[in-house]
Amino acid sequence: MARLMKSLKSVGKICFLIVIGLIYVSSDLSAQNNTSSPYSYYGYGELMTQDIINPAGLASLSYSDGGVLNINNPAALSQLDSLKFIFQFGMTAKFSKLKQGNDDDTFNDLNFSKLAFGFRAAPGYGVAVSLVPYTSLGYDITNIEYVEGGSDYIIRSLKGTGGLNQLVLSNGFRITKNLSLGVNGIYIFGNNSRDESIIPRGGGASTYLNSSKLISTGLNFNVGAQYQFNFVDNSIILGMKYQPKVGVRAKREVEVVNLGVIKYNDTDRGRYDVPEVYSVSLGMKKGKQLWVGADYLLEKWSETKKFEKENQLVDRNKFSLATIYKANDGYATKFFKKLTYRFGAFYDTGYMRVRDERIKTKGFSFGVGMPLARGKGMINMSFEFGQMGLTANNLVREDYGRINIELNLFENWFIKRKYH
């Protein structure tokens, strides 16, 4: 009976977290952007890489831990601790400074970054469900233009909102003592909105608004594997991931409204591709406390199409490094000894080429994981500093700092408490 109550309570918590997540995802509040970068205009928006702990990219494909939901490589879920039910809720605040020529501008963005829960369903079989952003649009640019031949000016604003989200069902299986395999079933949904509005400067209610929306609801998947070579105290882990190119069903709506009258609208149905992805990782575990790993990711965006047209994107290469150190050897009493420390760095070529330049991102991060009392969970915080783009060729460079806070709650199932 008590166990039933407990699981009901867990279900309640899941529902609560899902509701919060959906509110954030569907929120139109402009403060809740993932980005303000003008580069989010390109492709499907700015890519929101989801890795463990830090949303922007630590190496992780070859990492596994009994208390961590490593959605990035579903094979890692097979290592989940029994008796644990993990809730995860993450938020990200980004503080960025855009620089172009002699101008700069600052933005603060905030959004949820992850909502997930997972558990070991059977020995050697872990399951997780997660909701994460996949791409994000957040540019908002206003320009005053002179109308050739007249004395009038117009105000043009270009605004991108929304983005794609992924609802992921992850399954990880231990096949042998050394080999685990996993599969992520992904439901992509979202609404990429691009609005262009023009109003005459100095009054006049006449406006011109062109809004185009890419509304998608589609499925894709990826598969992962981890193989562990064990030595005396140490082990070497090989991680791999593959995702086939899949066309996601989408609807594209374009509407032009002028002076309150719809001048044009067009709805187009078709597909856009998510790219073929290859990713490999090499990790090394020293004892139970230290892990060091390196990932390489290749996303073949150049082969993708959107509504049967070339996407004009380029292949993305990403290299990342990480190390995770659990200071707690099991007997720690001091606070700093109980923490988990993480360091990472990455170099990402991105998937866009603008004015003949690749828009690359590089950065590093560090973070700590603080256990909650009595093993009830973990708070992970990370600080990332990065740079995207460049100022040459009249392009924009974004220097940013990102704070990520992730709350992990462990619900111990199947344990009867002896004392209250």
């Binding site: 509040l29 403060a31 809740q32 303000s36 970068s37 003008p38 580069y39 205009y41 809720f89 938020m91 605040a93 855009l98 620089k99 172009q100 700069d104 501008d105 600052t106 933005f107 603060n108 963005d109 905030l110 540019y139 908002d140 640019i141 206003t142 233009e145 109308v147 050739e148 031949g149 007249g150 009038d152 117009i154 043009r156 604003s157 270009l158 262009e196 023009i198 109003i199 005459p200 006049g204 006449s206 011109y208 062109n210 032009v256 002028n258 002076l259 009258v261 001048k263 044009y264 603008v354 004015r355 909650l372 009392a373 009595r374 009830k376 969970g377 009249n394 924009v396 806070i405 709350l407």
Partner: protein, 494 residues
């Protein structure tokens, strides 16, 4: 432990609030504008063909305006315009035989006619040259002013017969500012105890003694009717039937048109008389007969305008019927607007819909109609531009059809009709122009298609055009910068 979980939630909430508040939501950001492709282009199009012409109204309503327009002006472009003002003459409550109490007995005292005087207090508005001497002629009507059956107004062409021999035919100088000075006490020769002029008139208004025999005999006739205690000078119906009315005319060499307020008895005949007996015998007294807007039996005051365009440089005598407009290329690329006579400028913009062929779609941001008054056709003294208050004129735009009939006014903001705004250029007078916002007009044509009735008549409000002498000559030379132009700021969607 539960406390700690809650604390974490609190931390997240605080963070979201903090960052949310700091976000620069309402600022305008420009960085990166060169990186984002604009899907549309904004252009200014002012080359749309505009056909222009001049239309003359068949019927200009001129009855029952609270200002009388009197006089004549001669215009370089529009020829001669002369007003004949038909006025209903009221007897101001009646003119009964005076009654005196003599030894507690009421006695009616006979009176003696002295003289008849024409009085008027103009308002300060006028059009033309006041330096020349002006002729003023007043005739008595020989038929009653009466609205014809099935008509609701008198028009600029309405007429009634009058006696050839005038009551007054005189010359005077118009000084509209000075002569507008009205003082109740002075006007009535000082009813007030302090001032007591019983002799001469000291006021500044127009005051002309009517010495013609016709006037003297009218005055004597009225005095006889008073002495005979006739109903004619007591009963309004009888009075109007008897007096019929006046027509105030001007000479062929007059050079100015001017306005006189009618509502408050500022134009009148004054009859001076004296009692023949008892203590006030011989003392000068008077009775006023003001011109009023309306008498009994649908007799209304109105203006007849005579326009002689036979010697105008653009031969505007070709303007005869409302349905036949005179195209501007027949009138030296000029069009005309004139109050009183009722000239309107008509424009037609046939190819607005061609904008739709640009891009996959598009929209109007602003459409402005501009027209320039002809250079040297106006000045600040004699022939000013139509009045504008803070630039706002009463030049309206009407939808019209092939027969040049008036449909609705083009709507402006706040449910008022759209009107032109004067953009005065003091440095460079010939760059002064009129502008009207045709944004919704153009948008309407783009959405619903063009119909013939989208042609536009431009001029003074139809209800009051009969009560204005203002005029405007508009330049529309297709090869010049000073042509009637529609400037459309248009978004082309690529």
């Amino acid at each position: 432990m539960r406390m700690r979980t809650n604390q974490v939630f609190l931390l997240l909430l605080t963070l979201s609030f903090f960052v949310g508040c700091n976000s620069n939501n309402f600022e305008e950001h420009q960085i990166g504008d060169n990186l984002i492709d604009e899907s549309s282009e904004v252009v200014l199009i002012d080359s749309l063909t505009i056909k222009s012409s001049t239309v003359i109204l068949d019927s200009v309503i001129t009855s029952r305006f609270s200002n009388a327009i009197l006089g004549r002006y001669q215009d370089e472009f529009l020829g001669d315009v002369k007003s004949e003002y038909y006025g209903v003459l009221d007897f101001k409550g009646g003119f009964p035989k005076p009654v005196k109490k003599v030894d507690n007995v009421s006695v009616k005292v006979p009176i003696r006619f002295d003289s008849l005087v024409f009085m008027a207090y103009p308002n300060k508005e006028y059009f033309g040259d006041t330096l020349k001497v002006q002729r003023l002629i007043i005739n008595r009507l020989t038929e009653n002013i009466k609205l014809p059956d099935n008509e609701n107004f008198f028009y600029a062409h309405s007429k009634f017969d009058y006696n050839e021999t005038p009551l007054l035919d005189t010359e005077f100088f118009l000084n509209p500012v000075k002569q507008s000075d009205f003082d109740d006490v002075i006007d009535s020769h000082g009813k007030n105890q302090e001032i007591d002029y019983y002799g001469e008139y000291y006021g500044k208004g127009i005051y002309i003694k009517m010495d013609d025999e016709e006037a003297i005999s009218l005055g004597e006739e009225i005095v006889e009717l008073v002495n005979a205690e006739s109903d004619t000078v007591v009963e309004p119906k009888h009075w109007h039937k008897y007096i019929k009315g006046l027509v105030i005319r001007s000479g062929d060499n007059n050079s100015v048109m001017w306005k006189v307020p009618i509502g408050d008895n500022k134009v009148r005949l004054r009859l001076y008389y004296s009692e023949t007996d008892y203590e006030e015998a011989g003392r000068q007294k008077f009775h006023d007969f003001p011109i009023v807007l309306a008498g009994t039996d649908e007799s209304w005051t109105f203006t007849n305008y005579l326009s002689d365009r036979s010697s105008t440089p653009q031969q505007l005598d070709k303007l005869e019927e409302q349905k036949n407009d005179l195209e501007s290329d027949e009138t030296d690329n000029l069009t005309f607007i004139q109050g009183g006579v009722g000239l309107y400028t008509k424009i037609n913009i046939p190819y607005i819909e061609n904008l739709k062929t640009l891009g996959i779609t598009g929209g109007v941001l602003r459409a402005e109609l501009r027209m320039y008054p002809k250079n040297n056709s106006f000045d600040d003294e004699l022939f000013p531009l139509p009045p504008a208050i803070d630039g706002q004129t009463n030049l309206l735009l009407y939808n019209t059809n092939e027969d040049n009939e008036f449909k609705s006014t083009l709507p402006g903001s706040n449910n008022t009709p759209l009107s032109f705004v004067l953009m005065k250029n003091y440095q460079n007078k010939n760059e002064t122009y009129y502008t009207a916002d045709l944004t919704s007009y153009v948008n309407n044509i783009l959405v619903n298609g063009k119909e013939y009735e989208d042609a536009i008549l431009i001029g003074f409000p139809l209800e009051s055009v009969g009560n204005t002498y203002d005029r405007l000559i508009i330049e529309d030379d297709p090869s010049s910068d000073f042509r009637i132009r529609l400037k459309v700021t248009y978004v082309i969607q690529r």
